[in-house]
Symmetry: C2
Subunit: 317 residues, 2 copies
């Protein structure tokens, strides 16, 4: 038995450290994923995947913290993937945001994993997908993905969730407008957080108006829930809404649909990563630099260079 099989066995028997190790292996090296995923794929498909997204400062982490408590009160096992737009040199977001979920770190049925957007050469979506698989195989009942909903990659990640919660707060300047622009249409549930500050009713009306303009999501009417940064009221309502949506998905058949979309996203992410890695295997960092210099000096243009590169790339994927 090789060390991968050993790790997978230990993970399947419920060893948290083995789970952590497997996620790290898959994050660092996609050939590990190519070995591990086929072994665990048949254990997956049971978890409810919940995406929580919203602008910086909207209090997503505090909400996630409270949702974890709700799930734990019902005896359910929770995995959390927190996508951090972290820079390697500060590590700020991890220390800052994750501290809010601290009290759950000692609970053996809660597994929290931070993933940085930096240093992931196009690989964030693949890494997230694989981490979902691992947590699912590990027996988590729910997997929460938390992400700042502003970039395309973040939106792509969160939209593979079964249930997407969009968090906003009253009077954050352009925030509702920006929400509307980017992520309104992927929200199944809207949480208006910090609902004890001024402007909450205006915020709700704005969301309601935008929802009326948008395409209907089958038979599901997106609820707008008031939640409160520092109190527990509201978090329970949000929790109930998430459970209702899950029930709706299964009964309506939309659940299956979401799984297919997720499968497609996984395929494309992995292929794209494969391409990038092969590109760097074919063209060395040094040669890439030389070519870039020619573009910078206007000696050649990028399309001309690509014309020359294509025959060499054909050997790969």
């Amino acid at each position: 038995m090789n060390s991968f099989d050993e790790l997978i066995k230990r993970m399947s028997s419920g060893e948290r450290r083995a789970l952590g190790k497997i996620i790290t292996l898959m994050e660092n090296d996609s050939s590990s994923s190519a070995y591990i995923i086929p072994q665990i794929h048949n254990l997956t498909g049971n978890a409810h995947i919940v995406g929580i997204t919203g602008p910086p400062g909207s209090g997503k982490s505090s909400l996630v913290d409270k949702l974890i408590s709700c799930y734990r009160n019902d005896g359910l096992k929770v995995g959390v993937i927190a996508i951090d737009p972290t820079s390697p040199f500060t590590g700020g977001a991890i220390l800052g945001d994750r501290i809010r979920m601290k009290r759950h770190y000692t609970d053996k049925d809660v597994f929290i994993r931070s993933m940085a957007t930096r240093g992931n050469l196009g690989g964030l979506s693949e890494a997230t997908g694989n981490t979902i698989q691992a947590l699912d195989a590990f027996g988590k009942d729910v997997i929460i993905i938390e992400t700042v909903g502003a970039g395309q990659v973040e939106i792509d990640i969160v939209k593979v969730a079964d249930t997407v919660v969009v968090v906003s707060v009253p009077s954050m300047g352009d925030s509702v407008q920006t929400l509307k622009a980017g992520i309104m249409e992927i929200g199944d549930i809207f949480a208006v957080n910090k609902a004890d500050i001024e402007g909450v009713e205006k915020c709700i009306i704005e969301i309601r108006m935008m929802l009326e303009l948008s395409e209907k999501k089958g038979g599901w009417i997106q609820p707008i829930i008031k939640t409160f940064g520092n109190k527990d009221d509201g978090a329970n309502d949000l929790y109930e809404s998430i459970k209702n949506h899950h029930k709706y998905l299964i009964e309506s058949g939309h659940h299956e649909q979401k799984r297919i979309i997720r499968g497609k996203t996984e395929l494309i992410n992995i292929l794209q990563n494969l391409f990038i890695r092969n590109l760097y295997d074919t063209i060395s960092e040094k040669e890439m630099e030389e070519l870039a210099k020619k573009i910078a000096n206007r000696e050649k243009d990028p399309y001309m260079i690509i014309e020359e590169l294509i025959p060499r790339l054909k050997k790969f994927i």
Copy 2:
């Protein structure tokens, strides 16, 4: 002379409509870019490229509006690329934000272009790069790229700029922390906007502290400029800072370095797009759906499917 040549000729002679048409052509169809870019590449390399980034609600558009006025007062020609996290169904961000730059729309030496992040299947970076080229070839002295600095794609886009301005505002909850996490390290200049509201000094101290922790940018000490949402004070200081940084880049030789990085980014973006398009040429939407269904049903795992797909993909890039 084909219609492309005709358009390029009209653009080169200063016709705005031809410029707009060329940008649209390149956005919609990469084979147009492959024809157009080589024709205009030797006209480029003169514009100063300025990236303006910051969280939603930080007042980036108002600042850009004021910067345009500063440039115009000096008789310089301005291009603006505004990256909108816009959804096709609302179009909200374009209408909302861009209205702030309205007064410049009638100025024939200001060209403002909005680009949506949605519907750009991995092609946003390529489209932005090509639009920069077109504006540069058109004779713009400065090209401003405005983007919400939260996603990886947005960060990738803005970091190709010669000069990157990071905008923050006091007391936006986690905003400074989030800035720190994602985009602090790419900032050449920091603007603290809405500096007439409470918390501005604290915000400046936080930025200063984080800069002290970060890697130095050669001999350039990143200035922190106070700007004001509704007044003109501060915008001039920011303008001067941007010009100083440009001067510094040229004198220090860093300008050349940035151009090489930009060349490299262009190459990779175009290759990646080429790959995705070829992927969709090889595997039909219908077949992709079938494969995704197998993943969803746990019949096969994605890595297994990719193993089978690779021989077919080898025919392409």
